[in-house]
């Protein structure tokens, strides 16, 4: 579906079901340089089971208009504005990687709007490798290739996509290269690198929170994810073996199972 925030068109996948204001809202926030399509193996399930599942394209990404937002704080405010724009008062947030920084900050800033928070491959800070940052800001496609290399665990490098016939790394690469790299990945990486408020924001979060971490995650290692989770009151942690940072694709079923249990328990769907 398309709607407007700050006069810019926003695209959000609804998981294949029409948006219905009566249903509780879940917003999925993608990682650096990526799009709503990274969530396809999570959103469709929720959309068919009593929720409005909105996988958004951040401004300047995927099918959304406008320019990429330059800070995590701006993105957090923008996500809160999305909740308003679609006519809801509250939502559950699900973030991946950079999306975790955004959703943590958003939850801390707007505690009354957020029902639950689910973090995948999250950390309190994501300092960027200077070379990687420079490559992305200089529009070098190598930045995407490096990101896809580091984002997949050893098992994920062999493939084994849950959807028959799809090949992880090349699909992610195409998503990240679908728009000008320096305007998406470059801006996102800089925003991650600049963001310093993650740990302080985490301390303010009171809603039910889940962290899904992966043992082979090189981008946001388990140690960093646990550190963030330890600062959030009552946070649950689930750790996936043999899996890298792209857990939502590499171990999509496991992620969905854990996410389903967590969200339906804490934020029940609309009964049919």
């Amino acid at each position: 579906m398309k709607f407007k925030v700050d006069n810019n068109e926003v695209y959000a996948s609804t998981g294949g079901r029409p948006f219905d204001k009566k249903k509780p809202l879940i917003i999925f926030v993608h990682g650096s340089g990526l799009t709503h399509m990274t969530w396809v193996l999570q959103t469709r399930y929720f959309a068919f089971h009593g929720y409005n599942a909105l996988a958004i394209d951040l401004p300047g990404h995927g099918l959304s208009g406008g320019e990429s937002l330059k800070s995590i704080e701006e993105m957090a405010d923008w996500v809160a504005a999305v909740i308003d724009a679609v006519g809801h008062k509250q939502a559950s947030l699900v973030g991946h990687s950079q999306g975790c920084l955004v959703t943590v900050e958003c939850t801390a800033r707007y505690p009354n709007k957020i029902k639950t928070l689910s973090l995948m491959g999250g950390a309190g800070a994501i300092p960027m490798n200077p070379q990687l940052l420079s490559l992305a800001e200089n529009n070098d496609p190598k930045a995407v290739d490096l990101m896809m290399d580091w984002a997949h665990g050893p098992a994920g490098h062999f493939g084994g996509h849950p959807v028959p016939g799809l090949y992880h790394i090349n699909t992610g690469t195409m998503l990240a290269k679908s728009r000008t790299i320096q305007n998406t990945l470059g801006v996102d990486f800089r925003a991650c690198d600049n963001y310093k408020n993650g740990f302080e924001a985490a301390k303010k979060i009171k809603c039910p929170t889940l962290s899904i971490l992966a043992t082979d995650d090189k981008m946001c290692p388990v140690k960093e994810g646990k550190k963030l989770a330890s600062l959030i009151e009552g946070s649950q942690v689930d750790i996936i073996d043999n899996c890298g940072h792209m857990m939502l694709l590499e171990e999509a079923d496991r992620v969905l199972t854990v996410l389903k249990k967590f969200i339906t328990t804490n934020y029940p769907p609309l009964s049919s």
């Binding site: 959807v163 699909t171 043999n242």
Partner: protein
């Protein structure tokens, strides 16, 4: 220390490693080092919810082996990885892969621009069979790059061709034709069976969909029929209103829009969800496994195929019984320079040559070689020969033969990986017979 200055390089697996490993994780298959053959029609659902989720494409997994199968899935991922594609869909043959690609792209009333130099079966599909489905085609000679542009109509949905034409070895200027296709907002589909991804990765030159008959060099052993279509993932189906079946809600899956939902894998998702469901040209797991065995040695075999082919080109060019030789490695081949660009790892192992003495000599040659096999296939590890005018293209009339660039003296040679001296010795027997057909036939 020195790490700060070290240039970062992606450590994703390279071609030879992917040939052996891509698409398969032993730890999810009882530790089996070899890919298991999942010889089953169907798969247990955990519960009703799980079944519904699979049918709604809410989660990945297998339902019924007509739609997908774990062994076939390994093959699909492996080929996608080797091609640099986002996704692939394996089929029962190369022809069914072409048909599925066309039916995923087109509907009645649509039009395609097609290279005229194609395998005979493919010509018949485009010329005679697709019109029965309301899909019309305009044929253009592969070297007539601007001809592809001129042939595009309002209802044209794509351009199709063999990268190196069968059997005349004419090469499409893929980068230029891709530009023409993309300017018109349509995809370029390329049959790259003759090249395999070892010799050429068409996505790097602008192609959007790549098709292979896996029966040929990819498998190599000549034991199993298989085909595949591979998606590059770059083509934007939403850029115009030409592809409503990709972009509009699809009734068959609760109003799903394949392009919106699956983006760089939308074509494959639609081909599987609709095409495999409704047409059903599925690949058997046994044949998928057989093809996987071949792919494991793809680069090793292709090197030998190409080196033997170049030796045979030299041998044929110097031979008194040979009127002409067509192979992209020949310096005066019209596409020699283009071949260097598109086929940097070797120019392939298909040679066409004209035998002095015309049709009669050709028949004598074919009937007298012993090591080379006379059959309707290419890309076997064994050397194969055929006389197209009386074999693969025999269903064409004289005018169509001429348009396809065929002549009655043409012999199509698929060079195998035997010892090169043995192939040459065998050809000597054939040429002797061709020079004295009556004498040999009386022996």
């Amino acid at each position: 220390m020195s790490d700060k200055k070290k240039e970062l390089k992606p450590n994703t697996y390279k071609f030879d490693t992917l040939s052996l490993h891509a698409g398969y994780q032993p730890h999810k298959n009882a530790g089996s080092r070899q890919v298991p053959i999942y010889q089953t029609t169907s798969y247990l659902f955990d519960d009703v919810d799980h079944a519904a989720a699979l049918f709604n494409l809410e989660r990945g997994g297998h339902i019924y082996s007509r739609i997908s199968n774990p062994t076939v899935g390994v093959l699909e991922e492996r080929v996608a990885s080797l091609e640099g594609g986002t996704a692939a869909l394996a089929t029962s043959s190369g022809m069914s892969a072409i048909f599925l690609a066309v039916m995923t792209l087109c509907e009645a009333g649509d039009h395609l621009v097609v290279s005229s130099q194609l395998y005979g079966g493919t010509v018949n599909l485009f010329r005679l069979t697709l019109p029965k489905f309301g899909i019309k085609c305009t044929f253009v000679k592969p070297r007539d790059t601007q001809g592809f542009k001129k042939a595009i109509q309002k209802n044209t949905k794509g351009i199709f061709g063999e990268l190196v034409g069968n059997p005349g070895n004419e090469i499409m200027n893929m980068p230029e034709i891709a530009k023409i296709a993309h300017e018109a907002g349509i995809p370029l589909m390329v049959d790259a069976t003759y090249q395999t991804p070892y010799l050429c990765k068409p996505f790097e030159h602008g192609a959007d969909i790549v098709i292979h008959s896996l029966t040929k060099w990819m498998a190599g052993h000549g034991s199993s029929m298989a085909g595949i279509l591979v998606e590059g993932g770059k083509f934007d189906w939403m850029q115009n209103d030409k592809f409503p079946t990709m972009t509009k809600p699809y009734e068959g899956y609760h109003g799903l829009s394949f392009a919106e939902e699956f983006g760089p894998t939308a074509f494959t998702m639609k081909a599987r969800a609709e095409g495999m469901r409704d047409f059903g040209p599925c690949l058997s797991p046994q044949n998928a496994w057989n093809v996987l065995q071949g792919i494991e040695t793809l680069s090793v075999r292709m090197k030998k195929h190409c080196s033997n082919a170049e030796e045979m080109v030299k041998y044929l060019m110097d031979h008194e019984s040979v009127a002409w030789v067509s192979h992209p490695s020949v310096p005066d081949h019209p596409d020699h320079e283009l071949a260097k660009k598109l086929l940097p790892n070797g120019r392939g192992s298909m040679i066409a040559f004209g035998i002095k003495g015309g049709k009669e000599a050709g028949v004598a040659f074919i009937n007298n070689v012993k090591l080379a096999s006379h059959l309707a296939n290419v890309g076997d590890t064994r050397t194969l020969v055929i006389h197209p005018a009386s074999g693969t293209h025999s269903q064409m009339d004289e005018a169509t033969l001429k348009f396809a660039g065929l002549s009655h003296d043409m012999i199509r040679l698929s060079v195998g990986i035997e010892d090169i001296e043995d192939i040459k010795n065998d050809f000597e027997v054939g040429f002797r017979a061709a020079r004295k057909p009556r004498l040999v036939s009386n022996q």
